[in-house]
Assembly symmetry: C2
Homo-oligomer: 404 residues x 2
């Protein structure tokens, strides 16, 4: 019987290993392949021959791995050359796969990984090679086209919303509070920052303002809004996406600071510190704190969404099914069937339609002033964050499984 292989690529998420476990379970249930191999460090590792056999791990180990955040198989950021340019690495990779009698290749990743799947699928078809290449979606950015959402996003969104609630409470304790800025990831899209709209206290959003890359950021309007809000309530809570841009389309975090540094040194730190300096220099208040969530938001398994974990698992499981139908060059996508009860189904989308494209946060869900998210967005977000993971504990800390 033939074998299959799975590898991970791009930035880690909390649930990326669940997709691997879904593939293992799907394979077991359907008796699809003899062995499930794993390529370590994505394409890059496979090209170096770094392949392990996942059947060597016990059920208990696999179950622990399911609830372990970050890319347990290792990752890479490796872009394959166009076929027209050179097929050397294609041939090398396919030789390695053939040598291991591999008939299905699953790549868990985002945009660039779908580019790889599209290219490999195309090359295999061209050369009549009997290996199916299937992409399993993964990215906290939620920016893949056609799929309703991407596994990994909801857990990051849940962490951001939880953290918004908690830091809001922390930033509100004094008689004279200041301004707090929470910086999320999201260089091109605002899905992650927008998710902070779920954080509500007494039925009102905790954040006073939410800024996304999809809306042109105007410094003057920002300062007018913040000054007014600070005068009204003596505190302001701001959530901002790292990727906000000015009307010239330039990232604000890359614009050299004005005001406090006459030598024009680029500002260290991200957009949070940039906004902080703007506020301080404008004289609104000197009590401004900026906090960057950084990689915490993509690895906080202790605050993950069970729905997200299950969906990552199911996407992998479906991948096995689709491979048996001889599909190749596709990504498994999620369709939302209904919100209450929340129900989804899968379909396949050509990987080259997903690759190198970006799904933006819908501007219809941004308020008129461009500085907050409409309440309707809750319908989209809330079903995604349901439930908590069944993490195992050791010494009262999560027991995570390192398999490399």
């Amino acid at each position: 019987m033939a074998n299959c292989i799975v590898a991970q690529s791009g930035g880690p998420t909390s649930v990326i290993n669940s997709s691997v476990v879904g593939i293992l379970k799907g394979n077991k249930d359907l008796g699809a392949y003899d062995k499930v191999y794993a390529g370590l460090n994505g394409i890059e590792g496979i090209l170096n021959g770094n392949i392990i056999d996942l059947s060597n791990f016990s059920d208990d180990e696999i179950e622990e791995f399911r609830y372990t955040p970050s890319s347990g198989l290792g990752s890479c950021r490796y872009k394959m050359k166009n076929i027209e340019e050179s097929t050397e690495e294609y041939d090398k990779l396919i030789d390695i796969l053939k040598a291991n009698n591999i008939k299905a290749f699953f790549y868990v990743g985002g945009n660039d990984s779908m580019d790889t799947i599209a290219k490999l699928g195309k090359y295999a078809k061209l050369k009549n090679i009997d290996i199916n290449f299937i992409g399993i979606p993964k990215t906290i950015d939620n920016d893949l086209m056609y799929t309703d959402h991407t596994p990994g996003f909801a857990s990051a969104a849940k962490f951001i919303a939880t953290t918004t609630l908690e830091t809001y409470l922390d930033a509100s304790v004094y008689i004279n509070n200041g301004i707090f800025i929470l910086e999320t990831m999201g260089r091109d899209t605002g899905w992650l920052a927008a998710a902070a709209c779920m954080a509500r206290i007494n039925n009102k959003p905790a954040a006073d303002f939410i800024y996304l890359p999809e809306v042109v950021f105007d410094v003057e309007t920002f300062l007018i809004d913040v000054r007014k809000k600070f005068q009204e309530q003596n505190k302001v809570f701001i959530v901002v996406s790292e990727g906000i841009k000015n009307k010239e389309g330039k990232f604000l975090s890359e614009i050299p600071q004005f005001g406090d540094d006459k030598f024009g040194h680029a500002q260290l730190g991200g957009i949070g510190n940039y906004l902080k300096n703007l506020i301080v220099n404008s004289g609104i208040t000197t009590r401004v704190k900026a906090l960057e969530l950084g990689i915490l938001q993509r690895c906080a398994m202790h605050c993950a969404s069970k729905t997200d974990l299950d969906e990552a698992f199911n996407a992998g499981y479906s991948g096995i099914k689709y491979s048996l139908e001889n599909k190749s060059g596709y990504m498994v996508a999620i369709k939302r069937e209904s919100n209450s009860p929340y129900k989804t189904s899968h379909f396949l989308i050509e990987a080259d339609k997903v690759a190198n494209k970006v799904k933006y946060f819908p501007v219809e869900l941004v308020n008129e002033k461009g500085n907050h998210i409409k309440e309707e967005a809750l319908e989209y977000f809330l079903p995604l964050i349901e439930g908590s993971p069944s993490i195992k504990f050791k010494d009262n800390l999560p027991k995570y499984k390192v398999i490399r």
Copy 2:
């Protein structure tokens, strides 16, 4: 029947509201006082007459408040003048307490709050005023003398250890990884950074190095150690306390950067960025990331320790008991009776013995090289982080109660 009052002071923690709920429950069980008032924003608020009656809240609301992070009664940083200097604010405060028929005053706080309790206790004794002043310990820094540990610390420690595990996994996914620096709070003491030693994978600590303010930080030794470790394993994970100092006793985070800024501007950001620049400038690698946990570590109720929550509750409960014994000018302290089973008891310590003193992390628990924590420290830390809180959820996010 007489009344009592409770107020909170200093930096928030995840469990500070549990102490308030402990006072409410203790009062109910023991029938100690007619009403439990709360002073909003600590001493500062009480002096402004901001007092509310906690009996207006339902049992459900109080239960939600118990699992709400951050100082729900508001806080202040207010240092009372010495009695010798002026008694004006003492008299004003006592008039307000008398007007409300208050016989016991509970102050949940750290070092400065115990200074307030000591001064008020002393003044009441001097003037024969029949009000008992009792301090309830609270600080994530764990730096109060005499008590085995302080409520608030364990939940922060648990978040730090959990986050160390998760960011370690995230920072290890590529073939060529870089150096990751996790910055914790702890300006004077290293308890929080040291708690990262609990984060272990395959029975070995996740962090390669842990740096505390209690050990003189030598830049050259640091760079030699990091360079060696990076050559060995192609990645280094560092945990550092914000308060590390050089041999002159100067905070490293306050030393102007050398190397990349010839104009001598002080470095923006904390010690994490400082170490990052040191490493990059020394040529070890340019792939260095620094992450500051910031206020997340003191408000992450979603990752709190049940033991910590219970101990905060019990400290408040005991406060009621001690007040009935007419104790005044004391802080409730925790004694560790045994580790397995973990058992503690309470005793009283004069608040002026605690005030303005600092309990340092024991250097006997630091390794010989001064760059890590000995395994023995686990005995101290691990029992403190047991169990998870019974948070209520709304829309799959923690339901927190704002009572102000």
